[in-house]
Amino acid sequence: MSCNPAIGGTAKGHLVREIDALGGEMGKIADATGIQFKMLNTSKGPAVWSPRSQNDREWYSKEAQRRVVHQNNLDVIEDSVAEIIVKLNTLKGIRTFLRHEISCGAMVLCAGTFLNGLMHTGEKNRVGGRFGEAPALGVTESLRSLGFSSGRLKTGTPPRIDLNSIDLSKTEIQNSDNPPIPFSYHNEKILNRLIPMYLTYTNPATHNILEKGFDRSPLFTGRIKGVGPRYCPSIEDKIFRFADRDRHQIFLEPEGYDTNVVYVNGFSTSLPEEIQFEGIRSIVGLENSKMIRPGYAVEYDYFPPHQLRHTLETKIVAGLFLAGQINGTSGYEEAAGQGLIAGINAALKIQKRNPFVVQRSEGYIGVMIDDLINKSTDEPYRMFTSRAEYRLLLRQDNADRRLMRAGFELGLIAQEMIERLDEKENIVEETIRYLQSTTISPAKINPLLESKNESPILENDLLSKIIRRTNIGVWDVAQVVEIENIKTNLLRADVGQQVEIDMKYEGYIRRQNEQILRFAKFEEYIIPEHFDYTLISSLSTEGKEKLHKIRPRSIGQASRISGVTNSDISVLSIFLKQLEGR
C-alpha cells in the first residue's frame, strides 16, 4: 500500500463489494485487518451509500501475502520482469532480470506505479516506484517495441507525522461505525478493536507558507511531465485552483494499532521538505508535530487502455493482460477490480472457455473497464458513482444479487454462498408479496404514522403503500405485521434492506430498468469485427480515427467513445443497416 491504508469510499466501496461477490479477496482482507469502518453518505439515497475502512498497514499486507502464499497450485517467484517474449502477436513468456525464462500462455501484468518510476520532493528527485522500492525498468521499452503506445501519469502521497507529537485535543474525533458493516458477504460481523481518526483543517497561514514553495514545486516548474488526477489533487493544486477557500479538510489517520505513523490525508504534496514541514506545523493540533517522512509525487508509465479488450487482454498481443495503474487508473479498488477480471479471463483463455465481461448495467467494474477503453483519459481514472448511468440498480447492498451467480459459475464462489443467496432472495420475494397483498386498518397503523409525522390513513391500506412513506422504514412496518416469520424477515438486516429499497423506490427502479432495455438494442447492434471505417467517407476525421483505433463491438459502445460525434453514430448506423440489407 503506497497510499493511505484505507479501502473503499464513495463508489470505490461499490467496487470492493462487487469484487467480493465475484470471489475476489479485497473485501475479506479489509474486514480482517480493519481498525475503523464507516458507511459513507448515509444521509443520501441508497445508491451512493459506500463502505470504507481504515486498515492496519502492516497487517493488511501480511494478510494479503498470507492468502497468496496459501493459495493451492500457486508458485510465487520474486524477481523482476525484464522482457516480454512474443511470437506472431502471441505471448510466449517472460525473461526476468535474473535471466530466468518462464513460458506461459497468458499473463497479467500489474506494474502499479513502478514502470520507470520517478519520485519527486521539491527540486530533488530519485528513481523508484514507492518509498524505499526500486522502479521497474525495461518493461515499458519491451512493450513499446511490440507496438504499444505509452504515456506518463503522476500521483502523490502526503507526509507522515508522529502520532505522539499531535495535540489530539485540538482536533475533531472521528469514530468508527459500531457495529461495523463488513465489506465481504462472507463475513457476518467484525470483531476487531476499533480506533478513532482525527479531523483538522488548513488555514490561510498554511496556504501562505505553501505558496512560498510553489516556484520549487515540480508540478509548477514543469519538472513533472505526467498528468495528475483532478479529483484527488495535491494540496498545492487545491490552494492554487480554489484560491477563494481559506481552509481544506485534513484527516489524521493512524496507520495501525502499533505504530506512531500518521497519514496526513488531504495533504498530498511534492513541495520541498522544509516547506511541507513548516506548512504542517501551521495547522491546528500539529504545531509541535514531527514529520517522519515528507510527501512525494511519483511519475510512472502507463499504457492508454484503448489498447485493451473488455477482458483486459491487449489487442496487439494475445495472452497478455494488463491491470491496474498500468491502465491509467488510480486507487486500490480500481486496480483490484481489473486484476480480478484480467485474472479470470487469463484463466478462461487457458481453459479455452468463453471470456467473462461485466456489462455496464451489471456493475461498476463493467462501467470502469468500458470507460477505460472508450474514453480517452489523460488523467488517472478514478471511480465515481456518476460514471454509472444505472447507478440506482448498481448499489453496494445488492452486489451479491447482481454478480455472485457469475462468480459461482466461474468457480470462485462456494456452493454454500449461493445457497444462502437463493434463500435470501426467496425470503425477499415472499416478504414483498406479503406486503403487496396485505392491508392494515387505520386503528392499527395510525398511531405509528402519527408518531412519525406522517398523515394517518382513513381506510384500510396496503402495507406496500405504508412502506413507501418517507419517514417509514422496514423496522416500523415490522412492528405492526402480525405474521411472525414475516416480522422476522423484515428485521433480518440483509433481507429488510432489500425489501425496503425494492419497494420504496420501485418506480425509479422500474424506469431505470426501462432505460437499460432501451439501450440494450444499441449494445446488441454488433459492428463486424474487421469493419473498414475508411469506407465511410462521411465520418468525422476524429471519429474515424477513434473508431479505427478502438474498434468498438457495438453501436452502443461506439456511441460512448470520446471524439465520436452523434452524427458519426447516425452515419454508422445507417451504413451498417444497409450492409445488412444487401
Binding site: N41, K44, G45, F384, T385, E389, Y508, S537, S570, V571
Partner: protein, 461 residues
C-alpha cells in the same frame, strides 16, 4: 436505399412538368467529370472555383447533337448542399429536354437518385442534423408562408440549437447533483435544494413552451379543420361559396370521402382553414342518409372548429335542439364551437332557445357578418400560448412526443427533489429527459425513426 458515397447521383430537382427552367442536380465524386462530358461552355466544371456559374450548352457526346443551352453551377465539397461535389444544370423547362439531359448523365455513369438521397447525403456528411433534414421535407411540402417560415427556421438549425441548449442546462443541473453525490466527503459547498428546483422549473417551462408551439406548428403545417354543421337548407354551401369567392384563394380542392362531404381550403391571414361541408343532418332516416350521418360524425370528430349553422328564418324542432345540445356537451372542452345564424337579411323569427352565447349573425346574400366570422375564426383557432417564449415553432409530431416525454421526466425529477429524495433518484429521470431530447437531434434516435424520416422526401432533394 443503399448509400454508397462513391456513387455519383443525378436527378431533376425541380417539379416534373412544363416550367420556366428545370434544374438537374448531380452530386458525388464524379459530378464534375460527368458534367464536363456533356457540357460545352466557357469553362469546364472541374477547373472552376466553387460557387461559379458558366454559360454553355449540353451536347450529346455520341450524336454531337446540342440538346439545350444551359447555365452550369459548380459547388465544390465540402461547401455544397450534400457536402460532396455538386453540379447543377439549369436547362430550359420541359419534360423532354430535362429527361434527355438526365439520360445522358446516366450514360456517363450517374445513378438515379433515390427519394431524399441528396438530403440523406447532406445528413450523412454532417451538413444537416436530423431536425434540419426533416425541415427540408417540410419546406418542400409547405403550402403557406407561415409553414415555410417555420420549416426554414428549423433548417437553419434553430430548433437543434434550442434543444442542445436545453440538454446543456439539464446536464448542468445533473452536474450539481453529482457534485453532491460524489464529492460531499470533500467539504465542497453544495447547491441548495430550492436552487435546483428553480432551475428544473425553468427548463421544464422552456420544454413545455416548445412543445406547446406544436399546436401552432400543426396548424401552420396542416391547417385548421373546420366542420360546417347544419340542416341542408341552412345555407352551408352558400356560406362556403361566399368565403371562397371573397378570398379567391383556393389552396386545394379535395374530393371528400363521399359525394356528401366536400373539403375546400382557404387562407385567412396566412393560415389555412380546411372546411368540411358535412352532409345534412336528420332530414330523413333512409339507409343512405344514415351513412351520411356517420360520415358527418367522423368529420366533426376530426375537426378543430365546429361551425353550427342555423337558419334564422325557421323555427327549430326539439330533435334539432337536442342534437345540438348533445354536440355541445360532447365537444365543449376539446374543440372551439361557433354559432352562426344565417339569413340575417330576412326578418327573423329566430329565438334563442339554447341560450346561445354570442352568435354571429350572417347573411350569405348580403355578405353581412362575413368579416366578423373570419375574425372570430382566427381568434378562436390560434392557440393561446406564449409565442415570445418559444422562439421557434415545432411542426413535427415526433418532436412534440419527445418534448412531452422530456417534460414529464423533468417534472418527476423536480418532484423527487421537492419530496426530499436525493439526487441519485432525480438523476434517473434527468437521464431520461436527456435521452428524449437527444432523439430530436438524432443522438439516441433508434434507426427505424431515421429510416422513416428519409423515406419522406421527393426525388431531387
Amino acid at each position: 436505399m443503399v448509400y454508397q458515397s462513391h456513387d455519383t447521383i443525378a436527378a431533376i430537382a425541380t417539379p416534373i412538368g412544363v416550367g420556366g427552367i428545370s434544374v438537374i442536380r448531380i452530386s458525388g465524386p464524379a459530378a464534375f467529370n460527368m458534367a464536363d462530358a456533356v457540357f460545352r461552355g466557357s469553362a469546364a466544371a472541374k477547373d472552376s472555383v466553387s460557387h461559379s456559374i458558366h454559360y454553355g450548352s449540353v451536347v450529346d457526346p455520341v450524336s454531337r447533337e446540342t440538346i439545350d443551352t444551359i447555365l452550369l453551377s459548380v459547388f465544390r465539397n465540402p461547401n455544397s448542399y450534400t457536402g460532396e461535389d455538386i453540379v447543377e444544370l439549369s436547362s430550359h423547362g420541359g419534360y423532354y429536354v430535362s429527361q434527355k439531359i438526365l439520360l445522358l448523365l446516366y450514360h456517363m455513369g450517374a445513378r438515379p437518385a433515390e427519394p431524399g438521397e441528396f438530403t440523406l447525403r447532406a445528413f450523412l456528411n454532417g451538413k444537416l442534423d436530423l431536425a434540419q433534414a426533416e425541415a427540408v421535407a417540410d419546406i418542400i411540402h409547405s403550402k403557406t408562408e407561415r409553414a415555410h417560415k417555420a420549416s426554414v427556421e428549423q433548417l437553419s438549425g434553430k430548433l437543434s440549437a434550442i434543444v442542445k441548449d436545453l440538454r446543456e442546462e439539464i446536464l448542468n443541473i445533473c452536474s450539481l447533483l453529482e457534485l453532491e453525490l460524489d464529492f460531499s466527503q470533500e467539504g465542497i459547498a453544495l447547491t441548495d435544494k430550492n436552487t435546483v428546483v428553480e432551475k428544473l422549473l425553468r427548463v421544464e417551462k422552456s420544454v413545455n413552451n416548445l412543445s406547446a408551439s406544436y399546436r401552432e406548428g400543426k396548424i401552420i403545417k396542416e391547417g385548421i379543420r373546420v366542420a360546417l354543421v347544419g340542416k341542408p337548407n341552412a345555407g352551408k354551401s352558400s356560406l362556403l361559396n361566399v368565403l371562397l369567392m371573397e378570398e379567391r384563394a383556393i389552396v386545394s380542392e379535395i374530393a371528400g370521402t363521399t359525394r356528401d362531404t366536400i373539403e375546400e381550403s382557404i387562407l385567412l391571414d396566412g393560415v389555412e382553414f380546411v372546411f368540411n361541408d358535412t352532409a345534412g343532418l336528420r332530414e330523413s332516416i333512409d339507409t343512405l342518409e344514415l351513412e351520411g350521418i356517420k360520415r358527418t360524425s367522423r368529420a366533426i370528430e376530426g375537426a378543430d372548429v365546429i361551425l353550427l349553422l342555423l337558419d334564422g328564418s325557421l323555427n327549430h324542432s326539439p330533435e334539432d335542439l337536442n342534437f345540438y345540445n348533445d354536440l355541445i356537451e360532447k365537444y365543449r372542452n376539446s374543440k372551439s364551437i361557433l354559432w352562426l345564424i344565417n339569413k340575417s337579411d330576412i326578418k327573423t323569427k329566430f329565438v334563442n332557445p339554447l341560450g346561445i352565447d354570442n352568435p354571429i349573425w350572417i347573411s350569405c346574400k348580403t355578405h353581412e357578418g362575413i368579416n366578423a366570422l373570419k375574425k372570430r375564426l382566427l381568434e378562436t383557432s390560434l392557440p393561446h400560448y406564449d409565442s415570445a417564449a418559444a422562439s421557434v415553432t415545432i411542426t413535427s409530431g415526433r418532436h412534440r412526443d419527445a418534448l412531452e416525454k422530456a417534460s414529464l421526466s423533468i417534472g418527476s425529477a423536480r418532484k423527487t427533489i421537492e419530496g426530499g429524495l436525493g439526487g441519485d433518484f432525480a438523476a434517473v429521470d434527468l437521464r431520461g429527459a436527456l435521452n428524449y431530447l437527444g432523439e430530436i437531434i438524432g443522438i439516441t434516435t433508434p434507426d427505424d425513426i431515421l429510416n422513416n424520416i428519409f423515406s419522406n422526401f421527393c426525388i431531387g432533394k
